[in-house]
């Protein structure tokens, strides 16, 4: 039998990463002085499982390393060691080491001593581990002793006196199995003594009253024979002696059982068919997989079932259709609509994971950072079960890390400073996730110093981002920090970088169709709110018409749609067209100019202006009219055609036509680039005027 162990590696890696996460969480909960044994046990079990799997699947370095971790935890578990702060730190460091080693193992990279040796040494210092390089060597030795002596000894005559205790059967052991196993080692002669059998009336069938005298002629060792009785060594008296070589093998009576020596004793375990250590050069790459709860799959199957039923009902109606069935047809179509929507939702749920997958890493981050910065910080995680799309989750992870680092580095003050201003010494950072409308909202709030608005404004003026006499609202000032290259941190630290961060955060979030907003009160703290689409593959869109073309605007970016009056429209410097929205002048983007299509309407007062928000500024997009709102499935233009500025993708509308999905930030950039380009044909304008007249 040959089993390819590599097929279980993926499961092992996934499981181990999960175990590491739970280890980390538990370690962060641990503190010197108050030790919850359940927590210690959990951590021990996690390390133990990782080690066990590593041994089984042949990941020697991981197995050796986790052996020390396990030993340390075992010391804690048995209360031979006491939890200390450095110990927790080293255990956390060991989690990182194991993670690195697992990642390397998974991608078939070589694990280097630098990945683990330092931590290994410090762990060994904390616990008096036997210097052997782990249990695996011992096991190998054990296996060797068990099955294949290094040199095949000469055949000898062995006398084995086996006297089971009364309770041997109660452990499910069977003397016959032992005798059979011995018989496979050579020529066996067995004699069973019945002398101690009680009278029938006193006989308890669950007890054993027999004893055996066995003669074995075999080329084996005492250890190998004793090993046959390993499981019952505490349930019997066993004597193994070598008979003088010239003693004849007794051939008395019917108890003789002669079985030819099988090759078993020098075969199997020494030559495993599978060498788990070497996946034969086959590269195990990280597969793109997702674990889905069974109930989600069941839901999906259920939905498909419903869909099939609806389809067959429709087919029946279609087969001999007449006007009387119109109502039935309408009903069934409505049902089909519902089925489709539900099916879509179930499919989307499959890609959804609770945000705890991302949130989970933050307790560790906050723990490490606050130590490094000598700050006291408590992290609050809320809404951990809020689900979002796996891809969105992957993309949000780095921006969130950046924001939390920022909050800790620049937001939360030193404990002394907090005390001075009358706040508790321990600062709080809270992360919350929840659904709102069709979006996921993630908030990161801190009760730190907040944004120093005057300093931000001063810096912005120094850098010429804001003209000296410009008056900005608080909101505008807060958003200055999203400007590329902006930083007001007085000292550049290695924690949250050099202020190149926030604009990257904003860009990353915008790239997945999200928006970021910051509110801050000086002295009280800041809150960053991120609004994300539920998924990247479906978008709530507003269909708009320009001339004969239909475009889709993401609903999330639309603030309002208005019809402007002639006296609200003007031009700045005779070029850039603007319109007045309440107290503000916003630029107008004419889609027909950007995409070079034939316009339907040219007069701003005749069409509609859709006010959109792209984080940096609000603009009006001029369209002929609004059509319906609908969910559209995003088809990538890049993979099917090429990247087009101002377009984020395409979709197919209900009537089969293709509509382009507008990318609002891209539109603004395009508009800035050739905002003053004239209309492509004056004649068109004239024609339209005529039509309009």
């Amino acid at each position: 039998m040959s089993i390819d162990l590599t097929q279980f590696h993926q499961t092992y890696f996934e499981e181990s990463f999960e175990l590491l996460e739970s280890m980390e969480t538990a370690l962060l909960e641990m503190s010197p002085g108050s030790v919850d044994m359940d927590v210690v046990n959990d951590v021990f079990r996690a390390a133990h499982s990782i080690k066990g799997g590593a041994g089984t699947f042949g990941f020697q370095e991981i197995s050796d390393f986790t052996h020390v971790v396990e030993a340390l935890l075992d010391g804690l578990r048995s209360e031979q060691l006491r939890v200390s702060a450095p110990m927790i730190e080293e255990l956390l460091a060991s989690v990182d080491c194991v993670r690195t080693m697992l990642e390397k193992q998974r991608s078939n990279e070589e694990i280097l001593p630098s990945d683990w040796a330092a931590v290994h040494g410090r762990l060994e210092g904390l616990v008096d581990v036997p210097r052997s390089s782990g249990p695996t060597n011992a096991d190998v030795a054990h296996a060797t002793a068990e099955s294949a002596p290094p040199e095949r000894p000469e055949a000898l005559d062995w006398k084995i006196d086996f006297r089971p205790y009364l309770d041997l059967l109660r452990t499910g052991n069977d003397p016959l199995r032992l005798v059979t196993e011995l018989s496979e080692m050579g020529t066996l002669e067995s004699h069973c003594e019945l002398g101690e059998l009680p009278d029938f009336d006193d006989l308890d069938p669950e007890e054993i009253h027999l004893r055996w005298e066995l003669r074995l002629h075999a080329a084996t060792t005492e250890a190998a024979i004793a090993n046959v009785f390993d499981w019952v060594s505490d349930q019997c008296n066993l004597e193994i002696t070598v008979l003088p070589s010239d003693a004849p093998v007794a051939t008395k009576d019917g108890h003789r059982s002669t079985v030819a020596a099988s090759p078993r004793d020098n075969a199997a375990p020494t030559q495993p068919t599978v060498d788990p250590g070497k996946p034969e050069g086959r590269r195990m790459t990280e597969s793109q997989s997702i674990r889905v709860a069974i109930d989600k799959v069941d839901d999906l199957i259920n939905m498909v079932g419903e869909l099939v039923i609806t389809q067959s009902m429709l087919q029946q109606i279609g087969e001999n259709f007449d006007q009387t069935q119109l109502d039935a047809l309408r009903d069934k179509l409505a049902l089909l609509g519902r089925n489709t929507r539900e099916l879509q939702e179930s499919v989307m749920r499959i890609r959804m994971l609770p945000i705890s997958f991302t949130f989970n890493r933050f307790p560790r981050l906050v723990h490490d950072l606050s130590r490094k910065l000598d700050k006291q910080v408590e992290l609050e995680l809320l809404g951990q079960q809020t689900e979002l799309d796996k891809t969105v989750m992957e993309k949000i992870s780095d921006p969130l890390t950046h924001l939390v680092r920022n909050a800790l580095d620049h937001g939360i003050e030193q404990p002394e400073e907090r005390e001075r201003v009358g706040k508790p010494r321990t600062g709080t950072i809270s992360m919350n996730a929840y659904h709102e409308g069709g979006n996921i909202v993630i908030e990161i709030a801190d009760d730190g110093a907040g944004i120093n608005k005057s300093r931000v404004l001063e810096q912005a003026r120094q850098r010429g981002l804001v003209s000296p006499d410009e008056v900005l609202s608080d909101d505008d000032i807060n958003h200055l920090i999203f400007h590329p290259g902006f930083s007001t941190a007085e000292t550049v630290s290695d924690i949250s970088g050099r202020g190149v961060g926030m604009d990257v955060v904003r860009k990353n979030i915008a790239s997945i169709g999200g928006a970021i907003h910051l509110t801050s009160a000086e002295g009280e703290g800041s809150t960053v709110t991120i609004r994300l689409p539920l998924t990247l593959s479906i978008l709530d869109g507003q269909t708009v018409r320009v001339g004969r073309e239909n475009f889709i605007l993401p609903l999330v970016s639309i603030l309002e749609s208005i019809q402007v009056r002639a006296n609200d429209v003007s031009r700045i410097a005779g070029k850039t067209e603007v319109f007045k929205l309440r107290d503000e002048y916003l630029p107008v983007i004419r889609l027909h100019r950007i995409f070079d299509v034939e316009p339907g309407r040219l007069d701003l007062t005749e069409g509609l202006i859709v006010v959109v928000d792209n984080d940096r500024q609000r603009v009006g997009v001029f369209v002929d009219e609004l059509l319906g709102q609908q969910q559209v499935v995003i088809k990538s233009l890049e993979t099917n055609f090429k990247k087009v500025d101002g377009i984020s993708g395409a979709t197919i509308l209900g009537d089969g036509t293709v509509a382009l999905i507008l990318d609002v930030p891209g539109l603004v950039t395009l508009h800035d680039r050739h905002g003053d380009r004239p209309d492509r044909a004056k004649s068109v304008e004239r024609d339209t005027e005529v039509v309009a007249a």
Binding site: H9, S49, P135, D174, W231
Partner: protein
Amino acid sequence: MATILGVDDSASMREMVSFTLKSAGFEVVEAVDGVDALGKVAGRPPVDLVLADVNMPNMDGIELVRELRALEGYKFIPILLLTTEAAPEKKEEGKAAGATGWIVKPFNPEQLVGTIKKVLG
């Protein structure tokens, strides 16, 4: 066809053991811990052999042995524990609870099947 109850909290070990035993022609019932195992044996004819990890949450392997031995159908069924060399005391504990024997981790599929075939005869 012998049926084996495989109990392990580690998904990869469970997968490995299960696949190996099925490949060797056994029927396999899986459980994730002692409590789950007791649920799995309830209301079905006794399995032919139990293979249980020692270290598991909720109910460990040793406690499971004790519970199983208290069931009428499991008095004499072979129960093997998966132990590690690092914890030899578990062997004695397991035996005291009524375990038949142990298989020391790490083991390879051939060792596993070899031992089980030996026990089942």
